[in-house]
Amino acid sequence: MTSREAILQRLRNRSGGELGVPDCDFSVMKRAPSSIAERIERFEKTIESVHGEVHRCTPQSWVARLAEILASRGARNLLVPAEHEIGHALRDSGRGDLPELLIYDEPIESWQAHLFNEVDASITSTRGGIAETGSLILWPTRDEPRLMSLVPPIHIAMLEASELHATLHDAMNAQNWASGMPTNALLISGPSKTADIEQTLAYGVHGPKELIVLVIE
């Protein structure tokens, strides 16, 4: 008998007999209806409490704001998506105050050391956000691979205000995650951090030291 069969058989032939299935009352997960403005406020408050930074922008103003943010950090370069409109907007902006724009368009194996050691910042889109926990929803794609939001010391994320959900429960149902998950899906709620040394918070332990969210209203 394989271990698989042995384990399943032991579980099925349980000596205590069949177990009752309790009802699950999910009403505690429900929230009173909220406006987009309320959700933005909540999102901002929560993510700032964990060292995230929020900038409220418009479709017209975000590029200029981004340029300011990057200049203030002295970023030498910015990793941008190749296909997504964010990438197009930046490349077509014709601004002289943006750093060098890089594209993640080859497999990680061919440029791993460069990504790990030379890239200062990245910008990605998001699939929405969660107000209650101050979280961004990211489903990495070929255009915005997984490591784009993890390896550079500064991660900038664009969030459409209309895509802010009240809770994770709401978000996964509104976006119907159960119908099919990507190879990797993420909730990101602040910069990388640790409290493993005497409960003292330190940022950027393995992932980005800074998470900057541009909320587009």
Binding site: I7, H169, A178, T183, A185, L187, I188, E198, T200, H206
Partner: protein
């Protein structure tokens, strides 16, 4: 030092709980480190639930876990089927050794020499690092706390904060000695140094090994909770990712995840959510540019299917490993995690470890408790930990005819004399005449009662027999 008998952490004698506990209590550094950390965690947890109907949320959490356990074999098969469809290879291991062999075989097939690890308590339970290292495969921990503990040649003292027993100064000295960093009490500097040291390792590792917080059967999704990003690195950068998990971690649907996640992070560290919630449903697709080309899941039984047989003990398997029970435990806070000598310390360890190592080896675990009930009160999935401790105490002396003992090594604490005394006690109490005579004689001879009653009077005053029996006093009142 936190561990009186240092040396090889893989050969701790669990039975030596008392000497270790005494040494820990006598060590002001351990007392201070734990007290400070636990007080902070208790406050943070309380604040994090302030807006919630906590009882309703705990009920929901408990019911989600119970529902998953009721359907456990079906859910495991569904999980396997979904993951296989998604391109993940699923393995089953009856015990820790088999799980270690599976991991090694995957490493050997890939000619892997170095393994980088995200935090995984199941891998601690399997003693995976030790196993791999004996076979020439280097396993490096990447969670900062685990990295520190590994540098020190120790084991974690808390399931969420492995290095909680050390203060900054101790960690600075350790990193200076082992990795050549400067001596410094600047946590930012120490953290940045570890980041640099580990980035090299991530880039060169052949395999990444992680744990799993929830495995979702409906979609074939492995969920990982973390703050540092090392879990994401481990599961994304190396070409092969192996996740190891206990068979009880499966839940039915994605909908089950939101309440459990809300309970887990708030109970563990008082966070609304962790920095990263990483949901993995498959290896890199041909068109993708990063992620592991191979993903494996090792489902580890290691005694869980035995716990599953009993209606009461089954509740042990609800656990979502938040650590709130240890944060609130007056015993854990004073003796620290290493005193237990087990993979899982504190209250959850006291009810889980006897199943994994037997009640003979773990005989002191169920009694390392004051039964104050704090653990049961804070448990996010309402595990009746105090009841289970009492049950295991009964098992360790072989219980009675109504509740035959079931746990491996049961009866380990049964003493012939003690059993005889209780037998006589029950015989006397079932016979009113003998009882009246016996108590009357005892009351008359009370001056002969010994002042010391073994361990009982070590920290207590012996109870004195009354001058008159209750029956005699009742008779006087009636007259």
């Amino acid at each position: 030092m936190s561990r009186p008998n240092t040396g090889d952490p893989h050969h701790i004698d669990v039975k030596e709980f008392h000497p270790r506990a005494r040494a820990a209590i006598a060590d002001p550094r351990i007392r201070q480190n734990f007290r400070k950390a636990m007080d902070g965690l208790i406050t943070k947890r309380k604040d994090a639930f302030a807006e919630w109907d906590l009882e309703a949320l705990r009920d929901l959490g408990a019911n989600i876990r119970l529902r998953a356990l009721a359907n456990l074999p079906d859910l495991l098969e569904q999980l396997e089927q979904k993951l296989t469809e998604n391109g993940v290879k699923v393995h089953w291991a009856i015990d820790g050794d088999e799980a270690c062999r599976i991991v090694r075989d995957i490493c050997v097939a890939r000619n892997a020499k170095t393994v980088i690890k995200g935090k995984s308590m199941v891998s601690e339970e399997m003693e995976l690092n030790h196993y791999l290292e004996e076979r020439g495969i280097k396993a490096l921990e990447s969670d900062l706390g685990e990295y520190i503990v590994q540098l020190a040649g120790e084991t974690p003292s808390h399931i969420i904060m492995p290095a909680i027993h050390k203060n900054t100064g101790e960690i600075s000295e350790l990193m200076h000695e082992k990795t050549g960093t400067d001596l410094s009490n600047d946590v930012e500097y120490l953290t940045a140094s570890a980041r640099q040291q580990l980035r090299e390792k991530f880039m060169n590792a052949d395999v990444g090994v992680s744990g799993v917080n929830f495995a979702v059967a409906e979609t074939g999704t492995l969920c990982l909770v973390e703050n540092e990003g090392n879990g994401r690195m481990t599961t994304t950068v190396p070409p092969c990712h192996i996740a190891v998990t206990g068979i009880e971690k499966v839940v039915g649907s994605l909908n089950d995840v939101a309440p459990l996640l809300a309970l887990l992070t708030r109970s563990a560290t008082g966070q609304h959510i962790t920095t990263y919630f990483n949901m993995i449903s498959g290896p890199r697709k041909p068109e993708e540019l990063d992620g592991p080309e191979e993903v494996h899941l090792v489902l580890v039984d290691n005694g869980r299917s035995t716990i599953y047989q009993d209606d009461e003990l089954l509740d042990t398997l609800r656990c979502i490993r938040c650590g709130a029970c240890m944060n609130h435990c007056p015993v854990y806070t004073r003796v620290g995690g290493h005193a237990y000598g087990t993979t899982y310390p504190g209250p959850i360890g006291k009810i889980l470890m006897p199943h994994l190592i037997g009640l003979d080896e773990g005989r002191h675990l169920p009694t390392a408790s004051s039964l104050c009930g704090a653990c049961g009160e804070v448990c996010p999935v309402k595990i009746p930990i105090p009841d289970l401790l009492v049950r295991l105490r009964q098992e360790s002396v072989d219980g009675d005819k109504l509740n035959p003992a079931k746990v491996r090594g049961h009866g380990a604490k049964r003493g012939t004399l003690e059993a005889l005394v209780w037998k006589g006690w029950s015989w006397m109490h079932a016979r009113p005449g003998v009882y009246r005579f016996g108590t009357a004689v005892a009351a008359r001879l009370r001056m002969l009662q010994p002042g010391r009653l073994g361990g009982w009077t070590q920290y207590r005053t012996a109870p004195r027999l009354a001058a008159k029996t209750l029956h005699e006093r009742m008779k006087e009142r009636e007259q």
